[in-house]
Amino acid sequence: MNPTVLFAICMASMAGVTLALPWLSPARFLFGVRVGEAFHKSEPGRQALRMYYVCDIAGIAAAIALAFALGLNRGSTWLLAILLVDAGAAVGYYRANRRLRGYASPADAPPAVREADLFAAEDRLPRWMLLWAIPPFLLPLAGAADIHAHWSEIPARFATHYGMDGRPDGWTTRTPLHLYGMFLFAAGLLLWLLLSGIVGYFGARRSPGRRTMLGIMISMMYLMGTVFTGVGILPVRHFPPWMLIAITPAYVAGLLFWIYRKGSSPAPPSESTPDECWTLGDIYNNPNDPALFVPKRMGHGYTINFGNPRGKWVIAGLVGGIGLLIAFMFWMMR
């Protein structure tokens, strides 16, 4: 695939996500500030949205200008471009959040009544989880079996990395580590995603939202399983690598559409978390709340409670786990 086309797809995906972000959040929050559902259409609400869009679009424009100036052949250009888009959105978010703090409306807070079911037996992982979480692990297993069956057909030196134009620019020798390593990495990543989903499930209060998050993690297992198994079988199955890259934006677009529809459908307000425990409307720190994960105010999903002593261990475990996997990948490709 032409690098310019690939870059255009990448930028369009990132721009789509960052520009849609204010509309993918719970309706009663705007840029992490509790302002009520009708506020988006008020003049201050529109001003805050404009402020965010200006910064976000400036970041996107700077990223495109940088790509034209430096060329798309270097990986660092891509990284810088992605960082510029993120930075533009982050600055826009921060400015809009600061502007809206004066409009915070505590009257819109849900009542501080909390309810709990005393039947502990109901707090179990849903049965569908096991049913849906197992098949992704079969993907790397099938990939490894495919490699094993066609071992003799693999050349002694084969391509392991492809440039943005689709041509191979990295090679390695035929060893068990180089051929099966990708499947090990994929299995590790799937396990990490599953464990993250389970930790999130038990670390959050009972609500339909935590089941949804577990479902999203499992759907990501299918995506990651497909992509990395696809990469692993490239030495024996010859198909254009861009096909694997194209799956991700398609998945993200589907997910965003689903989140938008879910967010715009009428739903009762979710749990109440004290406004004073949120920093910038995005970082939750409440030592008196035993929940490890609480629903986010910006975007969809859950965020960690940094005030929970176990929260630091969970973050260390999750970051350490993904760090180990990345280290393994680099060691394998050295």
Binding site: A112, A116, L118, P290
Partner: protein
């Protein structure tokens, strides 16, 4: 599957959260909604659901265990006990209850609830509690 046994607390209420938890669970126990042998959630899980500190729930469980309602199991929550019917309360305790009821009735009268309605409410509540 037993019927739902839910408790509610109001974090803005002047009544301490632990007292609300004790009162709410005791009502379910006296009404028979929680039968002997029923496991209650762990302190950690119930605290998480209610959004209160672990110590708040632990204190509530300890008080109910002290009254003979719960058997506390380390790390595994609590189990509802088969609580034998107690002997009638001594006169001193009855005087305490009478004082509390008197205050409550006075408060209801002060807020305009007619005496007949108060008597009916008390009767309904007394008959509603099975054990």
């Amino acid at each position: 599957m037993p019927p739902a046994a839910k408790i509610r607390i109001d974090l803005n209420s002047p009544v301490p959260a632990y007292r609300q938890i004790v009162d709410a669970i005791r009502v379910l126990l006296v009404e028979g909604a929680l039968t002997p042998g029923t496991p209650l959630p762990s302190v950690r899980r119930l605290a998480m659901e209610l959004g209160v500190h672990f110590n708040t729930v632990a204190e509530a469980y300890r008080e109910l265990a002290g009254e003979g309602w719960l058997d506390l199991r380390h790390g595994r929550g609590a189990l509802v006990m088969d609580r034998a019917r107690r002997a009638p309360a001594p006169p001193q305790r009855l005087r305490e209850f009478r004082g509390r009821l008197r205050n409550l009735v006075a408060q209801m009268r002060a807020e305009g609830v007619p005496p007949a309605r108060i008597a009916a409410e008390l009767r309904t509540l007394t008959e509603g509690l099975k054990s």
